[in-house]
């Protein structure tokens, strides 16, 4: 691995931080729109820089960060997606007090996620997790309602406990083996030992990351947080952090630090988490009446599908990256559409039934909803299919066909709630011939145009990734996302 300078590894993040600074200053002067554009531009710039770096083979630079190939691509996707979502939230951010500051915080969350995706040092991971968490608490709180305040506090308390567990795990590993918290040194220090302390540290760090992913039983913050947070904030917090954390988890557990741990331990730990999350997310989702809370449960289920990958080991890294890129985009669309519907139908009580006739009265939003829902289910012609195809394909080729079957059947049950959204959006309203539910827009609603435009852009991405492989195969995905 030829070394590349640390600065160039963190170049994308530095560019984005400039955007954050710009945003904070703009907000200070009360120019919220400028702040949002600044933050989004910073993120976009970072995405471009990361994209350029993807040509190089993966290399750990300065013992702290890994860049090149798949890692840079994930970092680029994280930053790019965040840029789109931040711009998509322009309508909301402009109308909410200290919107510029929130845009800056959103950018910080994205940058931290990108840092996690490229982190090769436990301390870098810790600091980024903390930054992402702080940004998350503020964003969840920013709806300024009783529910969001309470949800933010719960988010904080569990986050604090998770962080302390992470520190405990770091203490054990660093204290006993490492001259530094970098993966390279830790691995050298441990030199193949699988003594109980290593497995304990393995579990503690896995728990901290699983908490951030929202896997069962560490999921409790997700439903409350994503339901009461402003939908635009949830759009950012739902998908993007999960993508980064899973890539970090895969790199940490299957390649960098714990590769020689007995594979059955990895299979059992991550397999158990995966199946539990799938079951909880899918069945829990069925019982939900609120649209955003249902999406939170579906997030837990999607994490369940993703955690199948670490259970299989290193080769499944590309597969899970595709799965979660698709999920991040689809979740962003789903939440942005919720934002849009709230702006168009102020009387919407947030329930799925409340979406009656949205498909008919707002065709664009409806189309985005259809593609997002089908991508979350994993239907062919959408990106979600290829994610599940690769992950379950890996599971099957590793011999765990039953795990693939559980996953696929969970996706079938998940149609129970994804389909309910489409049912409400298109089948409700008067019997054929009648217009949708009374949706004569109240005079003062201003449709959240940025949100629906951002949603449509991401929808095209989902469709693009969904249909392109039919013609040009999956080889380009393999080269792009190779984490070799």
């Amino acid at each position: 691995m030829e070394t590349v300078s640390l600065a160039s590894a963190f170049a994308p993040h530095i560019v984005a931080v400039v955007g954050v600074a710009l945003a904070i200053m703009a907000d200070a002067f009360g120019r919220r729109a400028l702040a949002v554009f600044g933050a989004s531009a910073g993120l976009a710039g970072g995405a471009v820089v990361a994209g350029i770096a993807h040509g190089r083979p993966a290399a750990i630079s300065g013992d702290l960060a890994v860049s090149g190939a798949g890692f840079s691509v994930v970092s680029a996707v994280v930053l790019g997606l965040a840029a789109v979502v931040v711009i998509g939230s322009l309508g909301w951010l402009r109308s909410t007090p200290s919107g510029g500051g929130l845009a800056a915080l959103a950018a910080v969350v994205a940058i931290a996620a990108a840092a996690i995706a490229q982190g090769a040092d436990l301390l870098v991971l810790l600091i980024s997790l903390e930054a992402m968490a702080v940004g998350g608490y503020a964003l969840v709180w920013s709806a300024r309602t009783e529910a969001s305040t309470e949800a933010a506090l719960k988010f904080f308390v569990q986050g604090a406990v998770a962080t302390s567990l992470f520190v405990l795990g770091l203490a054990i590993l660093f204290g006993m083996y490492g001259a530094s918290t970098s993966y390279v040194w830790l691995r050298a220090g441990m030199a193949g030992m699988t003594a109980p302390p290593v497995t304990t540290a393995f579990v503690l760090i896995a728990v901290a990351l699983a908490y951030k992913l929202g896997a069962f039983p560490f999921h409790s913050w997700a439903p409350d947080a994503f339901e009461s947070a402003p939908p635009h904030a949830s759009a950012l917090l739902a998908g993007i952090p999960k993508l980064a954390v899973v890539v970090a988890l895969m790199f940490l557990f299957t390649r960098a630090v714990f590769p020689y741990i007995d594979p059955t331990i990895a299979l059992w730990v991550f397999g158990a988490l995966a199946v539990a999350s799938m079951a909880f997310g899918v069945f829990g989702g069925l019982a939900q009446r609120s649209y955003t809370r249902m999406l939170a449960y579906s997030g837990i289920a999607q994490v369940g599908y993703a955690l199948v990958a670490p259970a299989l080991g290193a080769p499944a890294m590309m597969a899970v990256a595709v799965l979660l890129i698709a999920y991040a985009a689809a979740a962003a669309v789903a939440y942005l559409i919720a934002g849009y519907v709230r702006s168009v139908r102020p009387e919407w009580d947030g329930t799925i039934a409340g979406l009656a006739g949205v498909g008919r009265s707002h065709p664009l939003a409806g189309a985005a909803l259809v593609v997002a829902m089908f991508s979350l289910v994993g239907m062919p012609l959408t990106a979600g299919f290829w994610g599940k195809f690769l992950v379950f394909g890996m599971a099957v080729s590793a011999g765990f066909w039953w795990l693939a079957l559980v996953g696929v059947l969970a996706s079938v049950v998940s149609f129970g709630y994804y389909g309910a959204v489409l049912k409400a959006a298109y089948f409700e309203g008067a019997d054929p011939g009648g217009q949708g539910a009374a949706d004569s827009p109240a005079p003062e609603t201003t449709p959240d145009v940025p949100a629906v435009t951002a949603a449509c852009v991401l929808t095209l991405v989902l469709l693009g990734i969904g249909v392109a492989p039919l013609f040009i195969g999956l080889r380009w995905v393999a080269t792009l996302l190779s984490f070799a």
Binding site: L123, L126, I127, E130, V134, Y137, A138, W141, E146, A147, T149, E150, A151, A152, L153, K154, F156, V157, A160, V161, T163, S164, V167, L168, L170, A171, I172, F174, G175, M176, Y177, G178, A179, S180, T181, W185, A188, G189, A191, P223, D224, E227, S228, Q288, S290, R293
Partner: protein, 104 residues
């Protein structure tokens, strides 16, 4: 071995505090106890002077990491207290078991 016991005992007491204390501020205090004990364990383990892989285990990096973690803990406390104040203002209470509005 008794450093491990002391640190872990403190960590567990802190965790128990978080899980059972009624008052938010007390919960925050317990979180500080947990983080403090974790830092103590980190530095303590770091200071065993073992030689691993040719480098002096501990030394500057242990202290530097210690500093980093203390700073993180402080930041954590700050945002925590900010949220507690926000809750207190809105709910007029700091009893954690009254905060069960969002569920299902």
């Amino acid at each position: 071995m008794n450093l491990l016991v002391v640190a872990m005992l403190l960590f567990s007491v802190g965790l128990y505090g978080v899980l059972t204390r009624r008052d938010l501020v007390a919960v925050l205090a317990s979180i500080e106890v947990m983080l403090g004990s974790a830092t103590l364990l980190l530095v303590g383990l770091g200071a065993t002077g073992e030689m691993i892989a040719g480098t002096q285990v501990g030394g500057g990096t242990v202290e530097a990491t210690g500093v980093m973690i203390i700073v993180l803990a402080a930041a954590e406390a700050a945002i925590g207290l900010a949220l507690v104040v926000a809750v207190a203002r809105r709910f007029r209470t700091t009893r954690i078991d009254e905060l069960t509005g969002v569920k299902g």
